[in-house]
Symmetry: C2
Subunit: 430 residues, 2 copies
């Protein structure tokens, strides 16, 4: 039987995502009510600039005073789609203090202050849900937190930023350079005017921190995540990747160490084999590959951003939180019981693809090979190409700790016969 | 703070899946306890043949009296991995009556009697979870029921049977015929001695019924699902598919009609373009493609069967059900509020690829084209090949109701100039 008093929702932010949340709450009100077991009502919408509110939201619901809205006391669920650290953080904790649960799409805040927010939610007996914070509409947080709750996840490897995937896909398919591909992404609305957060990997790093924490039941902060952007990936790198039967993706990789005693989280461009399911993720799509002890290899694929897909994730959480509320219960809170330390990048085991410009004379290969051996790095393949007194050496290593690999590169730079290191790229996905 | 009284689990069935559930419950007891908030204890294991129980289960837990086990009164959760209709159905309802929730992997039973089981669970205030019933370890039921609860799903299209995907993949890559590929699947353990349930599409049809019900919030019974097996797919069909840039998959397709007033569910082999994400699902893997109004196009990929993957799904449900129990709440029950009727196959809108053996004489194409026109079926492409007085016509239609398409084929069979219909295959995924 359906309860007749509606659950009241406060919406913080009414941009691309927020306006879509408001629209669906209105157009699909009957469906939402049936799925929740009670009607839901949009009780207020807090915005910075009321003149910019998009169509469909009744004027009487609009306010510029977000704090007063979350303090009203009759709000059941606060939906936070403002983004950024403040005022979002204060508004969310204020919401908990005033008896509301929270649905957030705020990856930056969750990556930085997830533990404190979880603690505040638990203290006040409220829910904190954030499916939309990672990979947009792709159901990922809930499968990791709940469907795989009886399994042991060993690795999460994903394409979690649509902008950079669009740029890399464009470079791969058209042979364009980075700048040209970025211009196209900007023109099509896939990249923002200032693309730093995307192309330097900050956005992906926040998502990696969130995913690693959930996957390994431990705390991983944004600062724990090693981060390299993709602005230095060149058309030549793509040509090298093709020769190896690979493509290049900006990957977020969260791994449990082989001995199980620590975890790592990192974001960087990497070559992956064309046969890997992530290699065929095109345009601005996202996909996350999960390896679990019992479940095996899983992949989740879909649009990683955009107003409608993100709104879908927000509304799925809204339904869950409202159902919990009717049940007078809360969903799973933070699970950080393993308290596994996060190891630095140097301890990550990976492979390098290294292109060297070298003098074209006898003995160079022997010199180079000696440097690898001295650092304990085993070579998988070497390809040598010479022309006009100059030559290039392309070396692909076997798996070794990143510290040994980067140490090798530093030592190679000091060799007289090495004129330059043309490119270094990690190789993943095998 | 952790509760110290353990939650008691009764396991019904201890074959490939059950023994793996028992093993993980023992080896990962601490992880499960931390995730649930209380320890879980295997309280009894009911089997038909105690001499066949696999390693690791203490002898004192084994019983042949499943009914007495579920009636004990101290059982919190019954895990049913027996399969089939009886005695599973009676044991599950008995479990509800005696205060236990149920986790089941039983697709046949859920497809046939899901509504009655849901009603029994609700009547007794218990949970019924069954992630493992569809697509093994791939988190699918929970994302559809919960993550997409705020969205409107319009289509679910999936490869949900690993045996048939292995056979079709083998035919595609090696050019083998059906019998040869089936023999290989049997030798490798991918097909059972009697492969009927898989190759005739019964297994996929049960999953389609479950998926359609969840996706569209309505009741879809096994009998509502149109079903065609894949035993008649030939090497020639694969050759035709290749010429169209397609491959052939056995698909389970659940669709909402364009007017929203009804739904359909069907299982049959179909050509899909190589560019479609489902086309690259190889070997015995499963994948389900979901199209939702706001979320867009999502795909879930992973192993669809096997002891460990299925056990992973069962244990994820076990954790959720145990958490609900500690919260004194239940998860989402049946959601069938839309009460949408299920339309017959004739009303499904699809495309046909038809190969005809025809007399090699003038006017044949005109005759054939007239038959299509009379049935209101528009032709997309025709390819004509002739040799030695015989010829073949390959026609690919535009989209039309299945009844009009099959009516066209019947009429074509009656033409004097048509010597035979060599193959008919639906074309999907565009």
């Amino acid at each position: 039987m359906m309860r007749t008093r509606p659950l009241k929702v406060a919406l913080l932010g009414c941009g691309v995502v927020g306006s879509e949340v408001a629209r669906i709450m209105t157009t699909h009100a009957d469906d939402l009510a049936a799925r929740i077991g009670a009607p839901v009502e949009l009780a207020g919408v807090a915005v910075r600039r009321p003149d910019k509110v998009r169509g469909g939201v009744p004027a009487e619901l609009i306010t510029t005073d977000a704090t007063a809205l979350v303090k009203r006391g009759d709000i059941d669920v606060v939906v936070e789609v403002i983004g950024g650290i403040e005022p979002a953080r204060t508004l969310i904790t204020t919401a908990f203090e005033h008896g509301a649960s929270v649905v957030s799409a705020n990856k930056a805040l969750l990556a930085q202050d997830g533990a404190a927010l979880y603690a505040a939610a638990e203290q006040h007996g409220q829910d904190l849900y954030y499916e939309a914070a990672v990979a947009g509409a792709i159901p990922l947080i809930r499968p990791l937190r709940e469907s795989l709750a009886g399994d042991k996840i060993n690795r999460v490897m994903g394409i979690v930023n649509g902008t950079t995937n669009f740029i890399l896909d464009k470079m791969d398919t058209s042979g364009a350079g980075y700048s040209e591909a970025l211009d196209e992404a900007t023109a099509l609305g896939y990249a923002e005017a200032d693309p730093t957060a995307d192309v330097e990997g900050f956005d992906a790093a926040a998502k990696a921190a969130i995913l690693a924490g959930i996957a390994f039941h431990t705390r991983v902060k944004l600062d724990d995540v090693y981060r390299e952007g993709m602005t230095e990936v060149t058309a030549a790198d793509f040509a090298s990747a093709k020769q190896m039967g690979c493509t290049i993706k900006l990957l977020a990789i969260c791994e449990r160490a082989a001995d199980g005693g620590s975890v790592t989280a990192r974001v960087h461009p990497a070559m992956i084999p064309l046969s890997h399911p992530l290699a065929s993720v095109r345009e601005a799509y996202n996909a996350v590959f999960v390896e679990a002890e019992a479940a095996g290899r899983l992949m989740f694929y879909g649009p990683g951003a955009g107003g409608s897909p993100t709104a879908s994730a927000v509304l799925g959480d809204l339904v869950a939180v409202c159902r919990n509320r009717l049940n007078e219960a809360t969903g799973p809170g933070e699970s950080a019981y393993t308290r596994l330390p996060v190891s630095p990048m140097g301890e990550v085991v990976t492979r390098y693809h290294i292109s060297l410009d070298v003098a074209d004379k006898p003995g160079v290969l022997a010199q180079v090979a000696t440097v690898f051996a001295e650092h304990g790095v085993s070579i998988d393949t070497v390809r040598q190409q010479g022309k006009d007194g100059e030559a290039s050496l392309v070396v692909v290593t076997h798996r070794a700790p990143d510290a040994a690999l980067s140490g090798t590169v530093e030592a190679l730079r000091k060799l007289d016969t090495v004129r330059g290191v043309a490119s270094i790229m990690r190789v993943e996905g095998e």
